[in-house]
């Protein structure tokens, strides 16, 4: 996972050829909200790796706990379904809109399905889209950013103009247009073929979101790579006869992982939010597969009949995105 890689990198100061400070400070220019951090000096590179660290990083910890809890819930969805003895997908019209009880901890929806189970299965979809999108965006974005910084000239100009253009466009309406495309006309697996309905939808939404998501990572990693490429240890490595591929792989990439990890964590939250918007509009994950977005779309039609059914899916989205932002914040302040 990208977070793990970034964290390890931060406290490993002895890379070959990197004399001083391999810790990039991605956020030196944007000061922290709380003044306490203003006095935090960066940890010197030659300090012993463990004991010199600040006591704890509550943001990172809280974010990881939140996301870990949600991921555990998603992983245990089948077990919870067995425990409660319900099927999350089978309608049961005799028990519609039941209030919370021991059998249905969060009650049932308009088709008598257990809301807790649908939330947990929805977590699978949301987290899958979020992680897959962020992973794709950070791989493509890092590659584009590093290559642009390294080649410079025309390649750099082309990549960055493309990024600027994508940033300048109104994102939401374009996402709507892209999500409305019939995948069969592009030769992609259509709904209900091969991957199963939910799988095809997840793939489709991931591709669409990654199309916009790489831009942020590319800009960050380009800036970081430019500053790393100008350092002495790069010249030293080249003087020692390292090939360009080796310079990029061993000396540039490890040094830009921290900002990339921050951007990736933010991208997970952004993707979860965007997926819920598209599913809410009826363009994302299609029912009967549950997703937090399409559960909210249902809830909107039931605002008068069952106002409380709107509460849980939105809360789940809020907690997931908050968790991602906390992780990103925590990584940034390390």
């Amino acid at each position: 996972m990208a977070f793990g890689a970034g964290r390890r990198e931060g406290r490993r100061p002895s890379l070959p050829g990197s004399g001083a400070g391999p810790r990039p400070e991605p956020d030196a220019e944007s000061p922290a909200l709380s003044p306490r951090d203003a006095t935090d000096a960066p940890i010197p590179a030659d300090a012993p790796p463990r004991p010199a660290r600040r006591p704890g990083n509550p943001r990172l910890l809280a974010g990881l706990l939140l996301l870990g809890g949600l991921a555990a819930g998603a992983a245990l969805a089948d077990a919870v379904a067995g425990l409660l003895g319900h099927d999350a997908f089978a309608p049961d019209l005799f028990s519609r809109f039941e209030p919370p009880s021991a059998a249905h901890p969060l009650g049932t929806d308009e088709l008598g399905r257990d809301i807790l189970l649908r939330l947990l299965y929805g977590a699978r979809v949301s987290l899958a889209v979020g992680l897959a999108t962020a992973l794709a965006a950070s791989v493509v974005g890092t590659l584009a950013g590093v290559v642009a910084a390294w080649r410079g000239g025309l390649v750099d100009a082309l990549v960055m103009r493309l990024a600027d253009a994508l940033l300048a466009l109104p994102a939401l309406p374009l996402l709507v247009v892209l999500a409305a495309i019939d995948p069969a006309r592009l030769g992609l697996p259509a709904r209900g073929e091969g991957l199963g309905t939910a799988g095809a939808d997840i793939l489709r939404i991931t591709l669409i979101l990654a199309l916009f998501g790489w831009v942020g990572v590319a800009r960050l990693s380009r800036a970081a790579a430019l500053s790393v490429l100008a350092r002495d240890h790069i010249r030293a490595a080249r003087a020692l006869g390292a090939t360009e591929a080796r310079v990029l792989r061993r000396h540039v990439l490890p040094n830009i992982l921290a900002p990339v990890a921050v951007a990736t964590a933010l991208a997970v939250g952004g993707a979860v939010l965007a997926e819920s918007v598209l599913s809410f509009l009826g363009l994302g994950i299609q029912p009967p597969a549950p997703s937090w977005g399409n559960m909210l779309a249902n809830a909107q039609e039931l605002v008068f009949a069952a106002p409380l059914s709107a509460l849980w899916p939105g809360l789940a989205i809020l907690l997931t995105v908050t968790g991602c932002n906390l992780v990103a914040d925590g990584l940034r302040r390390r």
Partner: protein, 313 residues
């Protein structure tokens, strides 16, 4: 300055041309076309009728030829008719833009007012900073459509104070305000987090600058230091974000407009895309893209106007 504006406008023209091409091709990839919808609406249409209709509207032509014809017409100022509204596309667009601009102006000013207030509080009273930070964290993560639904449930369903959605049914400012209140609150809450964070950070940075120390050394009061020296410097990034937000929100209000059933630009684009209303969807997309790019330019110009150090660059 003039050269900068000219260059950016030229870039915008290129961007819009590319976008119109890409959007036209994408719309060609969407399932169904207007004739399919006509068949669905009238089962007596035969296959021969459908073929004749397609030929009549040029839908049997290859996509590239259709794009060429459309682009030529647009360059002559012919934007075509809206299929959904059976009126010229441009005539449908302007009222929607007006509705969105009202929503945007109200919610953005509210967001800036409250957000900057919170940010200043965090910067000047460090003990309150964690609370403001927590608020900003939640504000940035909350899905707008969910927030809107919660407000509807609270104020329209439970309390019955405000209408759940739609546009003012009676003339007069009060009626309009009643219908605006919930969508404006939704958008403002969702956007004020960014202003709180950025204004707190900008004010803290400004207060650490050496000229603040020298102002204090010259005996300026704390109020003078804040209003004469720190605030103007902190305003630059906040105004930049505001200009960018304004551009993004012209179409970004799509979700809020859908939840509250307001006939603005965002909802118009959504309905046009869903209803295979090609002319309207393309025109609305291009207009919002133009507004977004122009607001980016406005942000740059505002930055230069406010910060003399940027003018030589």
């Amino acid at each position: 300055m003039a050269r900068l504006i000219a260059a950016r406008l030229a870039q915008m023209a290129v961007l819009l041309a590319l976008l119109s091409f890409a959007a036209y091709m994408l719309i060609g990839l969407m399932p169904g076309d207007p004739v399919d919808l006509a068949i669905m609406a009238d089962p007596r249409l035969t296959a021969a009728d459908a073929a004749r209709l397609r030929a009549l509207h040029g839908l049997d032509q290859p996509l590239l030829a259709r794009y060429g014809a459309w682009a030529l017409a647009v360059l002559h100022g012919e934007f075509g008719f809206s299929r959904l509204y059976a009126r010229p596309a441009a005539a449908v667009l302007w009222p929607a833009l007006g509705s969105t601009l009202v929503l945007l102006a109200a919610s953005l000013s509210l967001a800036i007012l409250v957000g900057v207030g919170l940010g200043a509080l965090a910067a000047l009273r460090p003990r309150l900073a964690p609370f403001v930070e927590a608020l900003a964290l939640l504000g940035q993560a909350v899905p707008t459509f969910w927030l809107g639904m919660l407000l509807i449930i609270l104020f329209a369903v439970d309390l019955g104070w405000l209408p759940a959605g739609g546009e003012a049914d009676a003339p007069g400012l009060l009626a309009a305000l009643r219908f605006l209140a919930l969508p404006v609150a939704t958008l403002a809450i969702a956007n004020l987090a960014a202003y709180a964070r950025h204004s707190a950070a900008a004010l803290e940075t400004a207060l650490r600058e050496p000229w603040i120390r020298s102002a204090r050394a010259r005996g300026a009061s704390e109020e003078q230091v804040l209003w004469r020296h720190a605030a103007p410097n902190a305003a630059v990034p906040v105004l930049t974000i505001a200009a960018l937000d304004a551009g993004a929100l012209v179409s970004g209000a799509l979700v809020t407009e859908t939840v509250f059933a307001r006939p603005g630009m965002g909802k118009l684009i959504y309905d046009a895309v869903m209803g295979n209303d090609y002319n309207l969807a393309l025109l609305a997309l291009l207009l919002t893209a133009a507004v977004t790019v122009l607001s980016g330019l406005a942000a740059d110009l505002a930055q230069r106007a406010l910060d003399p150090r940027l003018r030589d660059a």
